[in-house]
Subunit: 309 residues, 3 copies
């Protein structure tokens, strides 16, 4: 029996390196299968999604993943605009959705929502993003991308740049990287530094430096992970424009990087990375999106097949 069978995927903190490597191996298997064999993995199974916070991107990634392994998806893509759900408790909505599906995919604004849903549901629950820190499938997608592109994770120097305060992606990635021996450089404007209440827990897992200057370690990085800086986070626009400009990854910055530095981005991108970078061999953010489909397919396949696939 595979250890992920019927298990919830709630937090990246619940995964150790051995488990992550098993998921990576399954993902590689999915990639290597031909489409018709791939579709046997979840033939006729149903994914039910509940998005309390709309995220077209994440929803489509799960939908495409499930379709690629032969299953189908149904659910509610934006509960806030769903008239009939008004006033119904999360517990009731989860319970009903469990009846309609074999696996539940939940997106919610609140920390702890997925763990709560998993207690209510008798079907496995996959957290598709919750609260301030958790987005485990994104972290697994990101770790897989690093492993796939660099052939290893241990020993790498990884820069993470942009808004490190808001956005659960960065926190989940850091907790995931905690399973490996990496050096992390965090680069952000002063006001968008990683939250101080998370620093303690992250420090227990990995070493990182903090800086406001993207050029400080740029020539040492094996991976540069870029995130979006949102205008809404700044009290005045002038400050925003100044900050934004100083972190744009373009061909100029690329010249200062190691020749084989891998550039990643969780997408959507606005203008943090110039389009001319897309064609370079360093740009791996679309590959990363593709791997997101396959890692999710792998997680769904492991969750729904007693003996794996």
């Amino acid at each position: 029996m595979n250890e992920f069978y019927q298990k919830d995927i709630i937090s990246i903190k619940d995964f150790n390196q051995e488990q992550l490597e098993k998921i990576f191996a399954s993902t590689n298997k999915i990639i290597s299968l031909n489409p018709s064999n791939r579709r046997e993995i979840c033939q006729g199974k149903t994914l039910g999604y509940l998005f309390y916070e709309p995220s077209t991107r994440t929803r489509l990634s799960f939908d495409a993943a499930m379709a690629s392994i032969g299953g189908n998806s149904l659910g509610i893509s934006d509960i806030s605009s769903s008239s009939t759900q008004k006033g119904e408790s999360l517990a009731d909505t989860v319970e009903i959705m469990s009846i309609y599906s074999d696996v539940l995919v939940l997106r919610h604004t609140l920390d702890g929502s997925s763990r709560f849903a998993a207690e209510v549901s008798d079907k496995p629950v996959i957290n598709a993003g919750s609260g301030t820190e958790e987005h485990p499938t994104q972290a697994i997608q990101d770790l897989f991308t690093i492993k796939k592109e660099k052939k290893k994770i241990d020993g790498l120097k990884i820069g993470i740049v942009g808004d490190l305060k808001y956005g659960r992606t960065v926190y989940s990635l850091l907790y995931g990287l905690g399973n490996y021996d990496v050096a992390v450089h965090l680069i952000s404007p002063e006001s968008l530094r990683i939250r101080s209440d998370s620093v303690y827990e992250i420090k227990k897992r990995l070493d990182f430096t903090e800086s406001t200057n993207i050029e400080e370690y740029i020539d040492e990085l094996d991976v540069l992970y870029v995130t979006r800086i949102q205008k809404e986070r700044f009290p005045d626009e002038e400050e925003y424009l100044k900050v934004k400009g100083s972190y744009i990854v373009g061909l100029d910055l690329l010249k200062k990087m190691k020749d084989d530095c891998t550039i990643m981005h969780p997408l959507p991108r606005i203008d943090e990375i110039s389009p001319e970078v897309d064609k370079t061999k360093n740009a791996k953010y679309f590959k990363q999106a593709e791997y997101g489909k396959y890692t999710r397919a792998s997680l769904l396949g492991l969750t729904l097949n007693e003996n794996g696939f």
Copy 2:
């Protein structure tokens, strides 16, 4: 040939006891089939839905039902917000949707809309709720739940509590129960009594008492069917709060009931039933939702297979 093949499902009044029992038998067969055999029932068939009144719950129940028997669903989940449909007649929309699908599922605010659609469409039409009284698939789901949980319907004492004036669910259930020998107790605030223009027709089919006091027959009931009382129905909030409080089904009320009284609710529930009741053996509202998936799958399977399944 099965008698439901290519037939419309418009009104619960069109079904006699023998027909209902046939549907129940098919539903039990669906429940007993393993998933891969189940999926052969409507393999590759397409359900087309047209919701002129949004109802996420009912739509997902049909979608999940169709998926469980191997078919797929497409359609319009909220026509009022569908820009391109503006000004198009119901007849034209139905005609087009008939081209796109093997069976049509229609939800509409107007009485008679489904019968009209059935005349236009050359594909079978299933009424997913229309006007003030008709919700035949909900009634079949409710009757099946009673039969499944109590092993019979004849001879039961059934209480129906809450808003009996608005909400087509109660009317359809009453018409459906008219096929059986049951004693019905209707419990509601004075202002939410069953509509006087329906009383005459219901009286022809079954005997019922009316009361404002939920405790009056509570110790005799075999089934308590709870419905939601909506704030919007009351002229002032104080009146609403008073009424609402007096009908809440909690552990206290449960103690006064027969030990094996079955508690049902069409869902969504707000606070008509306290969450602590959920864990009791009496609570069957989530089972009822599950049976809803299977009764709908059964109806779809019968409608689309000449020789049944």
Copy 3:
């Protein structure tokens, strides 16, 4: 290898008569197949749709077409209301959607958008309507309908009535008809004549007359193609009502037509054609919608199967 394999479908101008006839033959084959053989054509393939301009009708036609040949569909039905896409470039959205699907269906307000998407995407792109002139799958559907109903296209007299200025359907149909030897009569109010900047290019392809009087050639027409006149196009309502009334196709006008004149309409119809016409043997607009499903299924099947089907 079939010549449409992995090819984009961007403009009706890219198709010559021989290619159109091949598509018609494939469409006839799809119509003749039994449903279970039909579903093998795109078994397990995924269509990804991106609608920058909502069009429920066109989206459902593609969805139903893909379902009929065994594939499934996912995507974004109204990007303007999709919160997460804000600010993302068309190129990035197309690139991601290409990862999620085997063929991309794009609807966009801008001319050239589909050609641009096709350059970005490594999956074939089908234009589901763009800019002022292009709606190639609608044109193919319309040409197939004419061929199917009249057994030929060459030699026909075809009237096109209504709003000829706005609405890409008419332009695409005219470019498509340019492959055949037809006489076209354009009938519209003065203010809704075909755009003068398109006249030159259309003139190179076929001969047409222009008129404001629907009765002028009515007794000669083999096909009457009716389009909607939208109120919003007129500066004052009185003018609109006068015009609208003069173009309504009813039984009176039908009496003046050739006995076997075929009446078409891209739908949705408001009141350009009276409902009593629907039952006459001349009314083919619902057949046209049905052929739309099959022509799209044919295009998808050709695009996704190296050796055709």
